[in-house]
Symmetry: C2
Subunit: 249 residues, 2 copies
């Protein structure tokens, strides 16, 4: 994953947190992808004026930190609001009039876990990606010209369709700028090109596990939002323990 002037930087896709150890993150930009719904909600909160989002890896830490800094505590376990937290993982819970100027302390089943794993493994930079900020992610990756690792949060380590679709959407846009020797990336882009005309319809037709899980909670609106590009197009960037909106994004 070196980047010399004579070659393009590498790009890899990691299909599950359980495969993250196979990849060198040290000089790479790691894109944390948890389409339903953590990273869609993070970009939405920042787009709507949140000061920052602090990802934490346990409900207990979320409650404690929320109290210390007077933040909004939010998060889910198994798709439902976690006990002891105030808010859930839906992007619709964070309109500008509620979240503007505030700090969101967030814990989720898969996305925030993967972010902390990437940190522990020495990721060069960490950003978060989702369809609502697809363009911001692609523009940043192209501009930085550094090795990139697209990290799918999956569901309890099981590979899911929607995170792979987002990885494929990124690859589809940026592939001319990267040297891609990675079967997982090819699989992701093939899946995306098959699905792109109607991402929601594809998820439905394939009985995507997370589609079924959220539909059971009546969350079709969330699914449709989380599959729509550029509705909250900022770049969440990890710095000093917080996700902030990258300057000028």
């Amino acid at each position: 994953m070196t980047n010399t002037t004579s070659s393009k930087p590498s790009l890899y896709t990691v299909l599950s947190p359980a495969l993250l150890h196979l990849y060198d993150l040290n000089n790479a930009i790691v894109v944390i992808i948890d389409v339903l719904r953590a990273t869609s909600t993070i970009t939405t909160a920042l787009h709507n004026g949140a000061k920052c989002v602090i990802p934490v890896d346990s409900v207990a830490k979320c409650i404690e930190l929320g109290r210390q800094i007077d933040g909004i505590t939010a998060g889910e376990r198994d798709g439902m609001i976690a006990e002891g937290l105030e808010h859930g993982n839906s992007p619709f819970e964070y309109p500008a009039e509620f979240i503007g100027g505030k700090t969101l302390v967030l814990t989720t089943t898969n996305g925030t876990k993967l972010l902390h794993m990437a940190l522990d493994r020495g990721a060069g930079q960490i950003i978060t990606g989702s369809f609502p900020n697809l363009s911001a992610v692609c523009e940043y990756l192209v501009a930085q010209n550094l090795p990139a690792v697209l990290g799918c949060a999956a569901w309890k380590d099981r590979v899911n369709i929607e995170d792979l679709l987002f990885a494929g959407a990124v690859i589809n846009q940026v592939k001319g700028h990267f040297d891609i020797n990675c079967d997982s990336s090819q699989i992701a882009e093939t899946l995306y090109t098959k699905a792109k005309k109607d991402l929601y319809g594809f998820m439905k037709a394939k009985n995507a596990s997370h589609y079924l899980r959220l539909m059971n909670y009546g969350l079709e609106k969330d699914i449709r939002y989380c599959l729509t590009p550029d509705l909250a197009n900022v770049l969440p960037f990890y710095e000093n323990g917080r996700l902030i909106s990258f300057p000028n994004s």
Copy 2:
């Protein structure tokens, strides 16, 4: 993964040995998939009259056992014949006039490793799958009517295209007989339906990592053989430490 009279058995696809622990194998038929080239070679050797194939997980064991039972020792590490072994991992090394009536002791980078992992995790039954025995695998899975787990051997735990294509080919044929709630299976079948008209061309167009690796060794003929259905259509079945051709297959 229970199988009651009122429902179809489950089917899951495991994209990498590093994800195998997420699945319950106890009552399942586990299909070991290592298209390039271990499982293609195993079915070819049995089709050509080998008495049995003994998969072992190290070169040292392969040499020792080969000496004890006067077997043919074979195997590769990183795509090349491993030091100390007589033969490699190409199906073309095992024509009937050479392998007929003999025992092949085989060790490979990924496929035999996954087989031993599945054994350790209490797999109900173990068979091996590859395009040369696609129909035998599908017919057996449908006839048994038990939960099935399609296990991709991958490459040093990194997901690869060709094993996923084979999983997709199986799913495409048997899906009416199974209850499939598994995103990995949907991804596999989508990839296969996109690629099926020309599997070799798809591997080439996608710069599949194993395609490139074998082409570097001049093994186009092996790749083409290993992507062709039913050229050696028997069912390797694991029993008492050996893979034998399942009766009547």
